[in-house]
Symmetry: C2
Subunit: 331 residues, 2 copies
């Protein structure tokens, strides 16, 4: 009889996340009731939004409960089924959390086709991060050919997709990433026109050089100094889609000094959460899947091995140690 392993959140971080905030427990694989299925998870998704849910207090989602399995997206395989909609061997994506096995009534599971798209891509470029990129770019930035679009965290699971989609629309696309290696890949692998290394110590000058015509759209994942510098380069009627503010997720102050650019340039700044735009998911997923299958849309993954590695991999993600989609391989 297989044993389930689960990561619980046992305390809330004070500032930076610590391994002590989690506890690994073992339990029997759950019994199935009528209509239920058992999923053996193959990959867990680690995402920056999880940091916000570890805190108490008002946010767009309820806090992750203490002493409960960490919530999160997974891909896996049906290994037992009392549900006529699923048979053993079906590959599914769903919110099974940080554990080896999960059970479900099937409502929150979606069967996926792995013949042309790798299973784990449904947690990345053909999953929530890819749709996030698609929605923020198309719904808020809505760039026109010839415009300049800046993407922060450009080597990340979301940013890399934003940049490639914006290039397809005929934009000049400039990434911001941390370190020469990431910046080189953003240009060479993902086809951005330029990438600014925010760790190189000359953010304002380097961003100016990379955006000689100013900035018309920004897909913001970082906040703080990166956003402030972008604001100083915005053109009239620019649009900023606020998808994440990872520079402040541990409670760091991140004052914005250049807010007057909003008035001077009649900017639109809009925060969004991809799960609130479910009506756009089918079109987005269809386009993203086709591009991944054809090889047009490229992505990178950082894969941690084994469920035991999840907390350290998550802490590394928050520090920018990953490149592309951060996954934990469970099988």
């Amino acid at each position: 009889m297989p044993v389930n392993k689960q990561w619980l959140l046992v305390s809330r971080p004070k500032g930076q996340v610590s391994p002590d905030n989690f506890r690994l427990v073992e339990s029997p694989v759950p019994d199935l009731g009528p209509g239920e299925v058992l999923v053996r998870n193959h990959y867990m998704s680690l995402d920056p939004y999880m940091r916000g849910r570890m805190d108490e207090g008002k946010s767009y989602a309820a806090p992750q409960p203490l002493d409960a399995v960490m919530q999160g997206g997974t891909v896996g395989e049906i290994v037992a089924s009392n549900n006529p909609g699923f048979v053993i061997g079906d590959k599914v994506v769903g919110p099974m959390g940080w554990q080896l096995y999960g059970k479900s009534d099937g409502v929150n599971l979606r069967k996926v086709d792995t013949r042309q798209v790798p299973l784990q891509a449904y947690l990345g470029a053909v999953g929530m991060p890819g749709v996030t990129a698609w929605v923020g770019l198309n719904m808020i930035i809505a760039p026109k050919a010839g415009e300049t679009v800046v993407v922060s965290a450009a080597s990340g699971a979301v940013g890399a997709v934003v940049g490639q989609l914006a290039k397809q629309k005929g934009c000049r696309v400039v990434g911001v990433a941390g370190g020469a290696e990431k910046c080189a890949a953003v240009v060479n692998e993902f086809g951005f026109d330029a990438c600014v290394d925010y760790k190189a110590g000359n953010l304002a000058g380097d961003l100016k050089a990379a955006t000689p015509g100013g900035i018309d759209g920004c897909f913001e994942n970082v906040g703080g100094a990166v956003l402030d510098t972008v604001l100083s380069r915005m053109n009239a009627f620019g649009r900023i889609a606020v998808c994440g503010l990872i520079s402040g997720y541990n409670g760091e102050p991140m004052p914005i000094e250049n807010f007057r650019s909003v008035l001077i340039n009649r900017l639109k700044i809009q925060g969004f959460i991809v799960s609130e735009h479910m009506e756009l998911w089918p079109q987005a997923l269809s386009e993203l899947a086709a591009q991944v299958a054809s090889g047009q849309l490229r992505y990178r993954e950082t894969v941690a091995q084994g469920i035991e590695s999840a907390p350290e991999a998550f802490i590394g993600l928050l520090k920018g140690r990953n490149f592309g989609k951060q996954l934990v391989k469970l099988i």
Copy 2:
């Protein structure tokens, strides 16, 4: 033969505006060419946006040129006409600037009906400030009945109109103004539900008490601490129309600390300039004129006497010494 008096901008302010930045000159009343009219100005409009134009550098409008007549809106009367579209005695609104007489080919003049609306109201509630209120409220905030709308500079020419229009839509309307006297009038004269005195030293606590259900819409004229406090009280899917940031017009730093509210609450923040939405002016002016004529829409004016008083009145406006629309009476 009457003499024209004109205020020129002769130097750019370093920080606060000084009377030395202006010079009053006399000149002959201009001769008219074919198709031209001569306007005797009755009132000059003083507006916060003029401060921005006194600086050099990138903004939404070209800087006010040095050694030229200060630009600005006026209302007056046709006193000579070579244009078949205008007869002597016609009342007009136009951009004649800080002077007693101006000439025009008529293109930038609009004849106004003063039978039910006082002439100077076309510089206020039935003019640019009123349309600014109408456009920001309807186009960006778009409030629904039952929502809470906050208006900064609530006793000003724009803010007082915003609040009254929002009340008509069934909103809870909370003003922010400087001093007990202004706050009392915002509630008692303009019908706001509450008004917070930002000079009373308890902005965060007072705004929280006045917005027990949080804030859904904000019409922002001030920026700085007022905006930051509003951000901390915004509800999900809130909208902030950025019309002015007068707290920073002299170059003061005005850091925004609570930017993460944009993400947490999926806010939309949008700057706008009323002159870029000319398609909305006819409807707005028609509605505003009807409401002023019927007495439904109330407003206050602060009237400085004589063209000589213009610089001091303008400096007072920037310091919040006015109540309602700041005018200079010229006749």
